[in-house]
């Protein structure tokens, strides 16, 4: 009973018009909450003291770690949307993973850039072929490949279906890739890199990090809903233009 209700609710939401109405209503709230969380998170990050080893550079972590976490969550969101595309053939799922790909690439780029900036003072070099950095870099390449594929196809629904397949194949591959990169890394440079494990993080650092992670997550969803809205508008405009072209052609014939 309750389950069927939930499904009707979901399919209501999945109607593009309802989605647009809902997006218009909640977007200001989401944006506002995101802004507040960012303000709080940044204040907390900057008011904490620096690490005794790393000094002020540790504050890069408050951007870097949430961005890295988002880069992976975004791929998960895309994989879920891809299932939506392939199984339920829902147009909103198409829009969802198409809109998410550039966002994922952006967050991954932020993670890579901040990681590189953090690496310079810590490791003395801009880039280290550390297992995590390498995996994230491969993820970045996969995002770019998906964006390129989406741009190369002109029929949006077909592009959505084939990129959904590619997203899922990539998703299945992520554990293998992670494992192989870890193996490769231990083979070549036996654990010399200092890592911040979850347990060693001090509570003083943990709270700002959590707030920032929440802020980034909300930022992602705000941007994602906005990008989906734009994509729906774009497709509506395309449909209208197509209609105009066809109707004009029809008048000329008769």
């Amino acid at each position: 009973m309750s389950e069927s209700l939930a499904i009707t609710k979901f399919s209501d939401l999945a109607n593009p018009t309802r989605f647009l109405a809902l997006a218009a209503r909640i977007l200001p709230w989401m944006a506002a909450v995101t802004a507040i969380l960012f303000a709080v998170g940044l204040y907390m990050s900057f008011s904490t003291e620096g690490d005794y080893q790393q000094g002020q550079t540790v504050k890069i972590m408050y951007i870097h770690v949430p961005a890295a976490w988002l880069s992976m969550m975004c791929y998960t969101v895309m994989a879920l949307s891809a299932i939506g595309t392939l199984v339920w053939r829902h147009p909103l799922a198409d829009v969802s993973h198409k809109a998410a790909a550039p966002l994922g690439a952006a967050f991954t780029l932020i993670a890579l850039a901040t990681g590189s900036l953090w690496g310079k003072p810590m490791w003395g070099t801009w880039w280290v072929w550390d297992a995590r950095l390498t995996s994230v870099f491969i993820l970045f390449l996969m995002y770019l490949g998906l964006i390129a594929l989406n741009r190369a196809m002109d029929d949006p629904s077909r592009a959505a279906r084939v990129s959904a397949i590619l997203i899922l194949v990539g998703f299945v591959n992520i554990p293998i890739m992670k494992f192989s990169v870890d193996w490769w890394n231990t083979l070549h440079q036996p654990a010399s890199v200092i890592r911040m494990g979850g347990s060693t993080i001090d509570a003083e650092f943990l709270w700002p990090l959590l707030v920032m992670a929440l802020a980034f997550t909300l930022l992602f969803f705000t941007l994602h809903v906005m990008a989906m809205r734009n994509e729906i508008w774009r497709r509506r405009v395309t449909a209208q233009r197509r209609m105009a072209a066809r109707l004009a052609g029809r008048d000329n014939v008769r």
């Binding site: 147009p91 449909a239 197509r242 066809r246």
Partner: protein
């Protein structure tokens, strides 16, 4: 044996090309699709052949021995705009490849490769590479592909485009023979194929943009 299409609609890109098309074809019947370019003839044929997904409706195949969940496409031969023959291989190699890949559908047997080439009037040149043949000869050999294995339904998309009158007559004879044996033919065409009691379905094309989605 019947091929039944119910309430078919399909789109190309965002355009809805046709909707609500239904028909039922019994053994020995022929359906000719007519209409101007871009009116959705090819799209309808590809939907029936299972190569394009329809928006609504279904195509089903019924016969005494058919399993209920069989795809209708498995009972069909499809001759599209392209010949599906490799220019690098000889005609005989091409035909025998398709013969062994297709196999025979229940209730009939295909001709041998030599007989099929003979039937389209090109018996002597099956040993040549397909690429050496003229466009008309290539089209005839592509047609011979339908003869090497048995399928009750033939789906023909502009079978006689780029053919001269004699070749057209050959095709008409073969199609008539297929119908006389209890086959079913669906064909899209500009030229009349010379089939007397064929049913005709006129396609008008463009039923609207799929605006309900967006």
């Amino acid at each position: 044996m019947r091929l039944i299409a119910e309430n078919l609609s399909a789109r190309r890109g965002e355009d809805l090309l046709f909707q609500g098309i239904s028909f039922a074809l019994e053994a020995g019947e022929c359906l000719i699709l007519t209409g101007r370019n871009g009116s959705g003839k090819s799209t309808l044929l590809r939907v029936i052949a299972g190569l394009l997904r329809q928006e609504t409706g279904k195509v089903t195949w019924h016969s005494a021995k058919a399993e209920s969940d069989m795809r209708a496409a498995e009972a069909c031969h499809y001759l599209g705009h392209r010949n599906a023959m490799k220019a690098e291989l000889t005609v005989a190699e091409n035909l025998s490849f398709w013969k062994s890949l297709f196999g025979d559908f229940e209730g009939g047997r295909g001709m041998s490769v030599g007989e099929a080439a003979e039937a389209v009037g090109l018996g002597g040149i099956a040993h040549l590479p397909f690429g050496y043949l003229s466009a008309g000869q290539q089209r005839r050999m592509a047609f011979a592909k339908l003869l090497v294995s048995h399928r009750p339904v033939w789906i023909l998309d502009e079978p006689t485009a780029a053919l001269d009158v004699t070749a057209e007559e050959v095709f008409t004879t073969l199609i008539k023979a297929h119908l006389a044996e209890g086959g079913i033919v669906l064909a899209a065409t500009h030229q009349p194929l010379g089939l007397e009691d064929a049913r005709e379905l006129k396609m008008v094309g463009f039923a609207g943009v799929m605006e309900e989605v967006w």
